[in-house]
Symmetry: C2
Amino acid sequence: MKKLFLLAAFALTAMLTQAQQALWGGSQIVSPEVHDNNTVTFRLKAPKAVKVQVTGDFLPTQKIKTPFGEFDGPGYADLVEKEGVWEWTTPEPLKPELYSYTFLVDGLRINDPSNVYMIRDVQSVTNVFIIGGERADLYKVNDVPHGNVAKVWYNSPTAGMKRRMTVYTPAGYEESGKRYPVFYLLHGMGGDENAWSELGRAAQILDNLIAQGKAKPMILVMTNGNISQEAAPGETSNGFVAPSMQLPKTMEGSFETAFPDVVKYIDSHYRTIRSKKARAIAGLSMGGFHSLHISKQYPDMFDYVGLFSAAILPDQKMDSPIYQNFDAKLATQFAKKPALYYIAIGNTDFLYKANCDYRKMLDEKGYKYEYFETGEGHIWKNWRIYLTEFAPKLF
Amino acid sequence: MKKLFLLAAFALTAMLTQAQQALWGGSQIVSPEVHDNNTVTFRLKAPKAVKVQVTGDFLPTQKIKTPFGEFDGPGYADLVEKEGVWEWTTPEPLKPELYSYTFLVDGLRINDPSNVYMIRDVQSVTNVFIIGGERADLYKVNDVPHGNVAKVWYNSPTAGMKRRMTVYTPAGYEESGKRYPVFYLLHGMGGDENAWSELGRAAQILDNLIAQGKAKPMILVMTNGNISQEAAPGETSNGFVAPSMQLPKTMEGSFETAFPDVVKYIDSHYRTIRSKKARAIAGLSMGGFHSLHISKQYPDMFDYVGLFSAAILPDQKMDSPIYQNFDAKLATQFAKKPALYYIAIGNTDFLYKANCDYRKMLDEKGYKYEYFETGEGHIWKNWRIYLTEFAPKLF
């Protein structure tokens, strides 16, 4: 009997492994392989392919023409085939960063079947890997205490629905009995309540900054800024719909109007410090637009404001009272001397000029702000950087 | 100025959409398309491909030979090309179910670039879709109150590490002030704390059963049964490693020994009913093995036990005290008359005979249990079914 059951245990493991591979094509190819010197090899088993390329944000960019002008798109590198396995190694070590890539096989864009790590950005899913070191170590899961990340449904009476958000509570929250400051972090157009925790590595960044003593322990609240939805695509009764960049009611005042519902929920369900000095709001692109308007509409709510590559549309004329009396509301906000008003943008961002104009206006009025400029444009690489710069300044 | 900013707003939307597509190949192809009659059309734009197939669990199975015998693998269907777009429609309507599929393009297995909904099963990522109706409506997000799902780090002094688990709290938990029963739900070999919430649709199933009044509101705790890991692949300081079916310390007593740490954490951090009558444990495959041994090792802990396609290895001889005195411990467990001892398995499962033998032994000893048999084998379709059958019987 002993022998029989040992055989059974072995067979269980072996059969399941084999079944797995037979059924779903598990791969023995290692890709991407990050070498000790931070060069990276990409591999794809595709014996019948004629041409295989890799495209990703670690390659030199190429100009792409659009009706709105030229902008930078990613480059491509050709893989070389040997016995059915295509391969390419970066000629130089890659700098520390979280990188995205896909393969192009005879023009067909595919994910790397050897890499289960993928992130969705609106309608597209790309593989990811991290080259550690420097700032990119903040994007990794390190051997430090971890906060919890929850998908939370809250009631928004103003929006007339229950809505979903992502809430990070820092390591130690459960045991400490303490009250914590709260940082509200908003996504851009096409994003949702999953964007900052997945594309933005926000939980890892906070875990690491807090463990290093560089940021204060805080609650991080990542809302869904598309007020026409209850939740991210796939998480509502609409089913597995295709995600869309162009949703209704994204920048017409509804989200800003309903925002106090979020703060009310968080303050009544978490151990928060319920005061302006312990609240921050920041967002990227559309979320920067939302942060700008929410913070000026409710001037006693947030002491820290961050505009990351913000969609600055100061003369936007909409029906919503949110956008009315812009100058007077901004004057009120700055008369109350916010602890931090932070603007960050990349110098090739298509919103760069709009942000320059906005800063010029702030300068003319003598409104104090901090400014942080990076290279490159409207990309997650920059938004992760801005989060690592902004969070340590809070509270 | 008004015109300028309206143009800017339009340009922002249009450029981002275009950039998105240019950069990452967003697709206008609709796939899969579920028609009103529940036939489904799959499409792939691949002008240079020679042969395109779809493989998935909705296709008639094919026999696959292994050293351990024949078993059922999925079938394939050939797509037909027209103007660069390959297409295939199921000849018959599909029955209500959550289905998985991938494409094979000239032998290369790829995910459907038009479908962002994917689930990882060990090393493989497949696309998914749901045909609604009947039991499969329980797998959908419906317009009902939703529970919250959290990734929680708990301290396991016995394992000597902090470990990650998934905790579902039912809708209303935050406001009710009530105490709740707890259902501990364990994964199989190759799985982790994400398996039941993703592959198993456990949160959707509980939301729906509770909303229909078929299951009691309960807390659902989904642990990580691989005691050598802190957390799922990618969620530890090991980085983005390839997931593995063959991990050390999976069925040698360590997980069972450390399990009381989980119960202790849950009972001290959630509003639970802290008694045997309000605790259930169930698991699939290896998780069924764990549930069997944990429930008999701690006979005053769980009143409800579920073995789903359990890896029954009753004569396993290991050093761990967990497996010693099997007969005596089982006698003690059944002398205490568990409220439910539930065994479910598919009649083509490779563990079917081991489960028959185990039931025969229970019968001989007069130990009462419920038995539920389905068709097919060791697959997630069955485990979702068993969860929908088991949860309504609890508490």
